[in-house]
Every structure is written in C-alpha cells, then in structure tokens.
C-alpha cells in the first residue's frame, strides 16, 4: 500500500480549484471497430458547479452532420442552460470524441420537462430525459465491476484538469430517440492500460483545475 501510494505521488488535499462534480456516463457507438462513430451520447448529473446543480443529455445521432434536430438527430436537453453551456464549452468540446464536431455546436438545447433513472446495475440501467414528447434514452447492459480512476491533465480527456471518477464499463448499450434505436454498437478501446468498452458509467466525478503550471 505505502509503496504504490508513493509511486503515484498523490497528496491528500488537491490544491486546485474544483470545477464541477457529479455523474457523467456515456455511450459511443460504431458499426465497425475501425470505423468512425455512428452515434454518441453523454449524460450529466451535476451536484456542484459554478452554475449550480443540474442535468443534461447530449445525443448526436448524426455526429458527422453539421445540423441539428429536427433535420438531424443531434440535440441536447437540460434543466440548466447556463450549466450546460459551461460543460459544453469547457469540457465536452475538449473530449477527443467530441472535439471539432460541428454537430455538437449545431445541436439545439431544449428545456427538460422530465427525467428519470430506470433499472439497476445488475441488469439494464437507463437514463431518460424528456422535452415534452421528445424522449432521449441511454441504456447500459452487461455492466462490469467498478474501478476508481484518478488522472492529471496528461491523461484527462480535456488535457487540462485533474479528474477523479468511478468507472463501470458496459459491454452492450443503446441510444434511443422516442424508442428509435440509433445505429452502432459498443466496441472496446484502450483505457489507462486496460481494454474497456466505449459504453461506460462514470459516477462520482470531480473535475479540478490544477494550481500552477
């Protein structure tokens, strides 16, 4: 225990500025292992941020189409537009999977009318977000064992934060708009020395802007 703690050069109190904290599960789907993404979705359930608490879901069913709902299946739903604008500009836009995607910028941001979680981690687990009669659903299946992750800016998705999280991969997952499944399936990808699925639950996340250089 002492040996690996020393190896990690970790300190108990992070001196950086906390940005936000909450849950941030995602599903990235493809038709083939070496193909481009066919459907992307992420969900945010934020307990603390500079813009307060809130929830948001982003679905890019046409990630390579620079257009939004209703022309393309690219849309966002949130109950806190200020929070979502911050998450999109300072975090999501820097994730490698979303970086440079005009579809994200063109996706309309719609007001949330309802949201809920269904199922449990031993079977199928779903996050559902609605804007009136428009229903977005993310479902994770075949969920693996949890593991805790801590990364600095060198390994963090944004390349600029410290990040703590609890990850669980899902070997199968679906994204649906009004019960219409979007194309693609989950594949595996390298993840900090492991092969894990491109569909994952990420709970208990805290993002911190480090102090100093």
């Amino acid at each position: 225990m002492g040996e690996w703690m020393a190896e990690r050069q970790r300190i108990p109190v992070n001196p950086g500025r906390v940005e936000w904290s909450g849950d941030n599960p995602g599903i990235y789907l493809k038709d083939s292992a070496d193909g481009d993404w066919t459907s992307l979705a992420v969900c945010f359930r934020v307990t603390l941020s500079p813009h307060g608490r809130g929830r948001a879901m982003v679905v890019l069913g046409n990630p390579n189409v620079a257009d939004g709902h209703p022309t393309a299946d690219n849309l966002c739903i949130t109950d806190n537009p200020g929070l979502f604008a911050y998450l999109k500009s300072d975090f999501l836009s820097h994730f490698p999977t979303f970086q440079g995607r005009e579809s994200l910028l063109q996706a309309p941001v719609l007001p949330m009318s309802a949201c809920r979680t269904e199922g449990d981690l031993s079977g199928a687990y779903s996050e559902i977000m609605e804007c009136d009669d428009l229903v977005l659903r993310m479902t994770w299946r075949e969920i693996g064992k949890p593991f805790a992750v801590e990364v600095g800016p060198d390994l963090c998705a944004t390349k600029r934060h410290d990040m703590y999280s609890l990850f669980m991969e899902a070997r199968a997952a679906e994204i649906a708009i009004n019960d219409r499944l979007l194309p693609g399936r989950a594949f595996t990808r390298p993840f900090f020395g492991r092969e894990t699925s491109t569909a994952f639950l990420a709970f208990s996340e805290t993002w911190v802007t480090p102090n100093g250089p």
Binding site: M1, I11, V13, G16, V18, S21, P146, F147, A148, G152
Partner: protein
C-alpha cells in the same frame, strides 16, 4: 505531475454522496445530535438512499420514543453500510444509539438549494419529516485520503468536501440542540457539518 497508476488497484466498496451534521452543545463536550445521509450510486447491495439519525446519541432507544434510526429505501444497502462502514466510525459506533439500531423505511427524499450557498436534504419517513440543512458553506476541496486519514482506517477514499459553518437537524420542524464544532481533516481546519459529494471508497491493498 503524472499520477500513476490512473486506475486505483483497490476493489471499490461503495460510491455516492455522504453529507453529515454532527452537533454539540459544548465544543468540548459530546455530540448532542448526529446525522449522516447516503445517496449511493454503487454498492454490493445496489443503489439507494439512507439517513442515519441519532436524535439522542446517548440513549439506546429508537422510534417511537426517539428518532434514533437508520431510514432507507434499500434495506440490504443499509445493512451493508451499518455492518461494514458505520460500525467502524467511532463517533457513531461507540454511541449507545448504535446498539440495536432500527432500520426503518424511507418514503421520499428531496434535495433543496445549492451547495455553494444553502443546501438541504429533506427525508420523509411515514409521519416523520427530517431536514438536514447546511448553510454558510465553504469552497469545495477535492480530497484523496489514504486509510490512515479516514474513519474506518481500512480503505482509501476520493471525495469532495464542502464545509458548513452553520447547520441544523430538524424533526417535524423541531430543531435539535447543538451547533457544528471545529474538527481537523487531513490537516484542514473544518467543522463537523459537511457535504461530501462524489465519494468513492476503495479497499486498501
């Protein structure tokens, strides 16, 4: 500074939110009322919510005499937390109220406010409404504590701490006696009223 390995080798015990309020009538005296709330997104016993409440920590009595009880919407989760976690937190486990602690059903939880300013968890259990209120909140701090700096001493923890300098526990609108007291955690001067978010416990390797 790179942090390696990125994946903690310790098996995860549970993860979620774990805010609490421990009150004293005299800063040098014993706790007069105690509450610990759990919103769990992962545990071996599933997800759920639970509130450990000691209306009077010094009495081994439960409802209806006293609201010394562990309210939950997942009994298996409450049993897991009681046996493997709370039993190792000296302040809670050594109190007479822990003896014969009743597990009682929880009907509903409502979260109110913003952890930057004023924040509350309101728990409804039958005819009883319990409000935990945190005010005068501090800046959030991310912590990563080795076992030696945690209550149970047998696992590591990642968490986000927001301290509260004014807090209360109310039962059906009746405020319990006491105020938060000073305490030190990982070298930080803080209080016995706290929000802990994004908290993950890993068994020590």
């Amino acid at each position: 500074m790179p942090i390696l390995p990125a994946i903690n080798p310790g098996p995860v015990d549970w993860s979620g939110e774990n805010p609490g309020i421990l009150l004293k009538e005299d800063p040098d005296g014993p706790f007069s009322a105690m509450a610990l709330f759990f919103r769990i997104n992962y545990s071996p016993a599933g997800q759920g919510q639970a509130l450990l409440l000691y209306e009077d920590p010094h009495k081994a009595a439960g409802p209806p005499t006293l609201q010394n009880a562990f309210y939950t919407d997942n009994v298996a989760l409450a049993e897991h937390l009681r046996d493997t976690f709370i039993a190792k937190l000296a302040a809670f486990a050594e109190a007479p109220a822990f003896q014969g602690l009743q597990i009682a059903p929880l009907d509903r939880v409502e979260t109110i406010g913003d952890p930057r300013d004023r924040y509350a968890e309101v728990v409804r259990a039958g005819d009883t409404q319990i409000e935990l209120l945190w005010e005068d909140l501090g800046e959030p701090v991310a912590l990563e504590l080795p076992p030696s700096l945690t209550g149970p001493k047998d696992r590591e923890m990642y968490t986000l701490l927001v301290e509260s300098r004014r807090a209360s526990i109310s039962i059906n609108g009746r405020k319990l006696k006491g105020e938060p007291a000073p305490r030190v955690q990982a070298g930080i001067e803080t209080t016995t009223a706290f929000l802990y978010f994004a908290e993950t416990w890993m068994w020590a390797q």
